[in-house]
């Protein structure tokens, strides 16, 4: 799965940059986000672990023995995995800051910083990431795998999530797909917070906040359905 995702992301990047040329994309990033191509790419790559950390951190709790040994304790399943994953999330944020800071230093990049907006977007990103993690756990409890969700998440992030390919260069039909991915809102608002562009932020921030809240609610529902399924049928094993 990781290999397929890597190939899809690599191919998508090559296609976009090969067909359009880096200078054309650079012009788009400059116009849309008031940042150079390098600044655009670094901000995408640096902040991407926040989007995927929920899925990867929570997946360690998806084996039958992990689930069972947590479920027999008096603490709730959600509370347990959130408390246990706190360090993982903090590490992801630290890695993001380190990668971003190092890139700025080594490549001499220049950003403008709207720190309150940046902090709020990262917070929403963490909520989104937790939601995706819960969603994946709930699906795993019932269907025993999350390959499709992982593929969708990673390919959407790389291909149409505005992480490394600006949405403005995508074909119009693909852009409609982009607008339904939470990653698009996350990466775009991050660029606005760092690029000092003239784009009105509320038109993106409000849908992103609503999206995150809805996704969180939906993920709680899916996880609770998954746990009910386990109570009826056992975990991955039938006994």
């Amino acid at each position: 799965m990781t290999m397929i995702v890597t190939i899809v992301n690599g191919v998508s990047g090559i296609l976009a940059y090969g067909f359009l040329g880096s200078s054309a994309i650079g012009s788009v990033t400059s116009t849309a986000y008031n940042m150079s191509l390098a600044s655009y790419l670094v901000s995408g790559v640096a902040f991407s672990p926040i989007v995927t950390s929920g899925l990867s951190t929570f997946s360690q709790y998806s084996s039958p023995s992990e689930i069972e040994d947590i479920l027999v304790t008096p603490i709730g399943f959600r509370g347990y995995i959130l408390a246990s994953s706190l360090f993982g999330f903090l590490t992801t944020l630290a890695e993001t800051a380190l990668f971003f800071g190092t890139s700025i230093f080594l490549l001499g990049l220049d950003y403008s910083y709207n720190l309150p907006l940046l902090a709020f977007t990262v917070l929403l990103g963490v909520v989104m990431s937790i939601s995706i993690g819960f969603l994946a756990l709930g699906m795993r409890l019932v269907y025993k795998q999350t390959a499709l969700l992982s593929w969708l998440l990673f390919s959407m992030t790389g291909l149409v999530g505005n992480m490394i390919v600006p949405v403005q260069v995508l074909p119009e039909a693909v852009r409609y797909v982009t607008y339904i991915t939470p990653q698009y809102y996350f990466f775009t608002v991050i660029r606005i917070a760092l690029g000092n562009s003239a784009v009105p932020v509320t038109s993106l921030l409000v849908p992103f906040a609503l999206y995150s809240i809805l996704l969180f609610g939906a993920s709680l529902y899916v996880l609770s359905r998954g746990l009910k399924f386990v109570k009826r049928n056992g975990t991955h094993r039938w006994t």
Binding site: S63, P64, S65, E66, I67, E68, D69, I70, L71, V72, T73, P74, I75, G76, Y80, S84, V230, K231, R232, N233, G234, T235, W238, T239
Partner: protein, 238 residues
């Protein structure tokens, strides 16, 4: 009050088959049939049965992991369906796999302290009790070693220490000595008998007849979902 009671418990599972396989038997397997059981305070009950006889399912039903299709289960007066969290507060559960929930990079002691916090055991008491249990079950000098450095037998022993740590009144142990060396098995038996004398109610599953005889105040068998008194002569197992 009887600490652990089961009344007319039934449980079935639907079986998943490989696509295209011949349909030779029912796709539903009944694992527990009308199981009724009471375990008194301070009693150690050993449940003897072959692999796949339903021992683990019974433990999982009592520990609120799965719900019975029919029947009632209560732990210290709390119903497992309606008061599942309250039930879990009174239970110490060691499941067959028993290695979940440990953080591989944390030491045995830190893992136990984290677990004790889930049961709201005060930190100082948790450490003192963990130290004593670790010493009794062969972890002397290795309390601060990372979990990932332990062998599978040691991990199992640590899972038992974790189960005993909060000092809950009812203990459910699913094959606690599986893969443990004979010397430590003796230590575990002594530990459990001591806990029985202290008034803990213990349900211990095993497929080892000598263990059931050595440990249990009472031995029952579970065969094809039915619970029976153990009759060694009739079973040809004495």
């Amino acid at each position: 009050m009887i600490p652990l009671t089961l009344k007319n418990v039934f449980k079935s599972f639907s079986i998943k088959r490989e696509t295209g396989s011949p349909r030779t038997s029912s796709p539903v397997r009944t694992v527990l049939k009308d199981v009724t059981l009471e375990i008194r305070e301070g009693e150690i009950l050993c449940l003897l049965g072959k692999n796949g006889s339903g021992k683990t399912t019974l433990i999982k039903i009592i520990s609120t992991l799965i719900e019975p299709d029919e029947g009632e289960v209560s732990v210290c007066g709390h119903d497992t369906r309606r008061e599942d969290r309250e039930v879990r507060r009174h239970l110490g559960v060691m499941l067959n796999a028993g290695e979940g929930g440990f953080q591989p990079r944390l030491s045995a002691m830190s893992n136990l302290e984290f677990y004790a916090a889930l049961y709201q055991v005060p930190a100082s008491r948790a450490r003192e009790r963990a130290r004593s249990l670790l010493q009794d079950l062969g972890f002397e000098g290795r309390e601060w070693d990372q979990y990932q450095s332990f062998s599978s037998g040691m991990r199992r022993r640590l899972a038992l220490v974790r189960t005993l740590l909060p000092g809950n009144p009812v203990l459910l142990l699913d094959e606690p000595t599986l893969g443990v060396d004979p010397w430590t098995t003796g230590d575990i038996h002594r530990q459990l008998k001591g806990l029985g004398k202290e008034g803990k109610t213990i349900l211990c599953t095993t497929n080892n007849i000598s263990e059931a005889k050595a440990l249990g105040d009472r031995v029952l068998t579970l065969d094809k979902g039915e619970l029976n008194e153990w009759k060694p002569v009739l079973a040809g197992l004495s």
